[in-house]
Amino acid sequence: MKLRTYLLLAFFLVLYLATYLYLEKNFVYPFNIVDISKPENKLPVEKYLLLDLTGIVFGVRRISSDIAWIQVLQYYGTPEEEFEKSVHNHEYEDEHHHHERCHHGPNFGGGKYYDLLKLCQRTVRLDPYFYYAYIYGSASLAWNLNRDDEGIKLLDEGIKNCPKYWQFYIYKMAIIYKKLDKYKNMVYLLEKVVKEQNCPLMVKAILANIYKKAGEYQKSLQLWSEIYKSGMSEYYFFAKEQISEIKKILYSR
């Protein structure tokens, strides 16, 4: 019995060694693409450093990234005091706007939100495969906050981490066209990405607003209807308002 036990132990030790060596050679830790020990990849928000590192150590990077993402949405979804004051007289922009949902008005998503880039970078450095965070963050920075360079910076990080994700290139080009004031080229690219299944509703809303401003009401209506039909979201009520407003404009013509 004793000899048999030791022989069995030796057999499993050999099996362990063989599998260990194989895996050492063939297993590539997917998060190695972002080496957080390098200064250019360091986790950008010091305040959350301990929380983020705990997530990494406990092997729950995706959850840490999810928490970081929720914090991004909370940060960006909370109206900035200063911004609220400045937009409260936006009647001239949209006479049908209801003031009870001021932050969902025509300037929805606007403001300063200086930390938005940092918070988005924190999310994608924890999980570099969080494609939605790159797109949502860069689109907010470029179209809502008019910080094109920051939007491009975030997308560049995405391109570096996931070069095969072709949509990043399109978004980047769209932002570049926006920067160059090439409206038609930008719209063409945005039209391409809104057809994608994982396109954030926010990008659709941006394009719908662009159409509306350009007087292309039919196209705008179509996009708002799509947003409305997608169900409960932060845009649900705003989409409903927009649909009735655009319909009124179209009927009055």
């Binding site: 069995l8 132990l9 499993f12 099996l15 895996l23 297993f27 998060f31 406990f58 092997g59």
Partner: protein, 253 residues
């Protein structure tokens, strides 16, 4: 074989009748439902949040189940001397350890399956379509639990108190997720002696990153090595099970 099966069934029944087992499974199920509500905070990424938090919760609670049951499994029987009732019968000692281990792991798996089924039901309700990566994540978690279970049994025989075996097991679980950082430390180690020591340490601790599939969802990682990782896990668990048998054989009652 029949005797091992009898001991395993007895252990399974003993664990399932344990109040702690019910509390943990019940608490995990409640938490999965809580994530369902919390997922609203994730905006359009709510499904991802339910998926990530759910998978991690199931694994974490299974870990608690196996650690708490595992460390006291044999130790309690030795202390209360009920172990004599089994050992006076013509049953080899290794039957006893193997049966106890199988029963322990099975009871954790039953709890996990219940939790996974509820998790899946919630995901389907939210419009999730089945992804093969989910299955990989489930199998990986099962493997982790088998490894931790063998370590828990080993430490319960190795140390004299359940508290110390609990700490050792938990510590190894933690280190198992820390392997890529240990690898980094090996590269940075200044002296050859430190390098060798770290290499030995790296070889001994279980690399649980191979079974951290729930963290790799969305990364597009290849599954070529998965089958080998399975054997890695099996051999690691069996090595510690055999070591437990050797320790148990050497124990004097």
């Amino acid at each position: 074989m029949k005797k091992i099966f009898s001991i395993a069934t007895y252990t399974l029944r003993q664990n399932i009748r344990n109040r702690v087992y019910y509390i943990l499974v019940f608490f995990a199920v409640i938490l999965i439902f809580v994530y369902f509500i919390l997922s609203v905070l994730g905006g359009e990424e709510s499904l991802r949040i339910i998926l990530d938090f759910g998978l991690a919760t199931v694994e974490f609670f299974a870990l608690l189940l196996i650690i708490f049951s595992g460390v006291s499994l044999i130790l309690e029987e030795i202390e209360s001397k009920t172990i004599y009732l089994v050992l006076v019968r013509p049953i080899p000692k290794w039957y006893y350890i193997t049966g106890r281990y199988i029963g322990l792991v099975l009871s954790s798996y039953i709890g996990m399956i219940i939790m996974y089924l509820i998790h899946c039901a919630i995901l389907f309700y939210k419009g999730w379509s089945f992804d093969i990566n989910y299955l990989y994540a489930v199998i990986s978690s099962f493997m982790k639990i088998a490894i931790i279970g063998s370590l828990a049994v080993f430490f319960s025989l190795f140390s004299t108190s359940s508290a110390s075996s609990l700490v050792f097991t938990f510590f190894l679980w933690l280190l198992g997720h820390f392997t890529s950082e240990i690898k980094f430390l090996i590269k940075k180690a200044g002296t050859p002696l430190l390098k060798i020591l770290l290499e030995i340490f790296y070889f001994i601790i279980p690399n649980l990153q191979y079974f951290n599939w729930r963290d790799f969802l969305g990364s597009g990682i290849s599954s070529n090595w998965f089958f080998i990782a399975f054997f890695y896990g099996v051999s690691y668990s069996l090595i510690f099970l055999i070591l437990s048998i050797i320790l148990f054989n050497k124990k004097e009652f």
